[in-house]
């Protein structure tokens, strides 16, 4: 992968050349990969240089605060830029939030904010309750609560008089440890209970006034761990209560509120199937082989489906985009007992072998929503990168471990809503019922550039003894990218590779996302002028990246090297291998025979050659003498 400094050179060059869109995409990518302080400063500085050139949505945020928030501002602005919002931030004076709200000609109102965040802490708002709780009588505690509730109520009411901006109020955080220790939980009106009551008071204010929302700060801190969140040194010296590595979490929480108020939210989630909605590959592993259910290992996938159902209930439209045979996919969706999601939950289905970016365009058009209103979920980093490079779709990154899938989806800010209407609740269903298929065609941007960016390497080798198990296994379980679907045992593979009339090739592939391992097998039989491809198969993991062409190219070159004049191969159709029915045709083979069992194709080796795609670097391991 390109190093950071290389990437910055490219970005700065793009800026100099006036390639705003390219610079902007790369900056957003940089942010998503490393949302850190230094990157934030760099990203903000570069976006500012071109802010007049990009059509970004301007948005004004006022920050009223009782603690140091300045270091968060560049993080927030970088994150906003990366999602297409040019955020201007005004930070109010330290602990002057009440004056700012109550004075109609304050800096706050002059700034004309679209949204205001009231970032206050209990220790600043009611220091008596926070620091001197053990000295207070229950009556005094009640007084403090009443007074503070009244203050808050006055502030919100006054704010609503002077401004139409959204107001986001931090709920109050519980102390690390209550002043009275474990005794606190035993008393009638504990310190924690007092803070909870105040939080309930803030919640009722939010219900009372339109455009007022609560940020549950205590839950946010708890999620990341109170001890880790709090940095006593920074608090006591510079009045920053948040540790360096938690600043990004507060930034992201603020963004969750800014997404819906700026309209940067997604209406639909498009999901992959194999290894995303369930474990395994339905076309290979079948109904009994895929993992989905309430027990491990299917449980992780069921948790993800539960998270999707929650989105569906919130009015998010669900759709499927999967490289699969439609009948296999539908069987799992309809009949697998472990599935929580069923076909009726999905408003659009694209189950085919086409480019996913193209499928996403079609889905957006079918649902009649903007392409930027789609979010995309896929376990393959290659598919994610491709979609990200092609479309302004919100791509949700998944961790390697399926156990983390549900959390990754729930953590994504793109679906946040501040209100939920009955119509929202119904929307998912409505779209699913309106499902129609419209055939559309549209040009895609450069696929070749993308292939190049994958840095694909393949290694083609004659099969060695240590590969026998994997090679035999591939012939036995590969169904989809498999021209003849002939199943062989280890013993048979060993015999063929030992014979002079046969060659058995293996293919290993890697790209910049990692090593895919041994993913392809080709078996060729030589007979005079003819070389017949007995078997040619690839794992689904690498299908659609032209690796197969590199592999076929090598088989052809070897055949020519062994003085064959014609390369021949059967396509034997099965229920599963529709994917490869045009494989030979698309590589320049001529149809020379058709029988009931399948079709025979031939390639004249003296009249042409099959080229290895230029974006694949190909290494040939010479045959071991056996």
């Amino acid at each position: 992968m390109a190093s950071d400094s290389d990437r910055r050179e490219v970005i700065d060059e793009a800026l100099q050349l006036g390639q705003w869109a390219k610079a902007s995409t790369m900056l957003a990518e940089l942010w998503h990969q490393q949302p850190a302080m230094a990157n934030a400063a760099y990203i903000v500085s570069r976006y500012q240089r071109m802010s007049s050139e990009l059509s970004m949505m301007p948005y004004r945020l006022g920050l009223l605060r009782s603690f140091t928030v300045e270091p968060l501002v560049p993080l927030l602005r970088a994150a906003a830029f990366a999602s297409g919002v040019n955020l201007a931030v005004q930070v109010g004076d330290f602990n002057a939030y009440a004056q700012e709200i109550l004075n109609p000609s304050s800096h706050l109102y002059q700034f004309k904010p679209d949204a205001v965040i009231l970032a206050i802490q209990a220790r600043d708002l009611l220091p008596d309750l926070w620091y001197r709780f053990t000295e207070l009588s229950p009556e005094e505690v009640e007084q403090v609560i009443d007074r503070t509730r009244k203050d808050l109520s006055d502030w919100v009411k006054t704010f609503r008089c002077y401004s139409k901006a959204h107001l986001i109020i931090h709920g109050l955080e519980m102390p690390l440890r209550p002043s009275a220790g474990i005794l606190d939980a035993q008393g009638k009106l504990s310190q924690v209970e007092a803070l909870r009551r105040l939080n309930e008071g803030i919640r009722s204010l939010a219900r009372e006034y339109p455009g007022v929302y609560i940020l549950d700060y205590d839950a946010l801190v708890a999620l990341h761990g109170r001890l880790r969140w709090h940095d006593e040194g920074k608090w006591l010296t510079v009045r920053l209560p948040v540790a360096a590595d938690c600043l990004i979490h507060l930034t992201n929480e603020w963004l969750r509120f800014l997404h819906p108020v700026t309209g940067k939210v997604c209406k639909a989630l498009v999901t992959d199937l194999d290894n995303t909605l369930w474990g395994g590959i339905i076309g290979e592993d079948g109904m009994s082989g895929i993992q989905i259910g309430s027990e491990h290992p299917g449980a992780a996938y069921q948790s993800l489906q539960r998270a999707m159902l929650d989105l569906y209930q919130r009015g998010i439209i669900l759709a499927v985009c999967s490289k699969n045979n439609p009948s296999d996919a539908m069987e799992a969706l309809e009949n697998h007992p472990g599935m929580l999601l069923r076909p009726h939950h999905f408003a659009a289905l694209r189950v085919n072998w086409n480019d996913k970016a193209q499928n996403l365009r079609e889905i957006a058009s079918e649902l009649n929503i903007g392409i930027d209103a789609l979010a995309f979920l896929d376990d393959s980093p290659v598919e994610r990168e491709w979609v990200r490079s092609q479309l302004p779709v919100a791509v949700i990154d998944l961790p390697q471990d399926p156990m983390g899938y549900a959390e990754a989806l729930r953590d994504s800010p793109f679906f946040e809503r501040l209100t939920l209407s009955d119509e929202d609740r119904e929307r998912g269903r409505y779209y699913a019922e309106e499902r129609q298929r419209t055939e559309l065609k549209g040009g895609t941007a450069s696929l070749e550039d993308f292939y190049g960016s994958l840095q694909m390497e393949v290694e083609i080798a004659s099969v060695t003894p240590r590969m026998l198990t994997r090679v035999a296994q591939l012939t036995q379980k590969t169904n989809q990218f498999n021209l003849t679907t002939r199943r062989y045992t280890e013993q048979q593979i060993a015999e063929m590779s030992a014979s002079t009339d046969w060659r058995v090739y293996s293919l290993q592939a890697r790209d910049r996302f990692g090593d895919n391992g041994l993913v392809g097998v080709a078996i060729a039989r030589f007979d005079g002028d003819f070389c017949e491809i007995d078997s040619f198969l690839m794992s689904c993991r690498v299908v659609g990246r032209t690796v197969e062409t590199a592999f076929l190219s090598h088989v052809a070159a070897e055949a020519l090297h062994r003085d064959a004049r014609y390369l021949r191969g059967w396509y034997l159709p099965t229920k599963k291998n529709d994917l490869v029915k045009d494989f030979y045709k698309s590589h320049g083979f001529k149809l020379i025979g058709e029988r009931e069992k399948g079709s025979l194709w031939e390639f004249g080796l003296n009249n042409g050659c099959i080229r290895t795609p230029k974006w694949i670097s190909c290494r040939i391991e010479e045959a071991n003498t056996q």
């Binding site: 850190a36 302080m37 400063a41 010296t237 510079v238 590595d245």
Partner: protein
Amino acid sequence: MTELVLVSVRRIAADLFDIPLEQVLPHSSTATIENWDSLHHLNLVLGLEGAFDVQFSPEEIAKMQTVESIALLVQNKLSGGK
């Protein structure tokens, strides 16, 4: 290793002060870099803490006056444990 830390510190400082990397040299200090005010100093501290997964004490933060001394401090923390 020290060289690597020094380069990283320089890069982080250059980003946070919004000046070219070439202008952040080992002997650069609060006196020679105009943008290096107290707010940028806090950003630098937080940026370094986040990037290297370390934490500085108030005394250390007060002493972080030149790029070189900061790199040394980070280096010591990395090799001596936090």
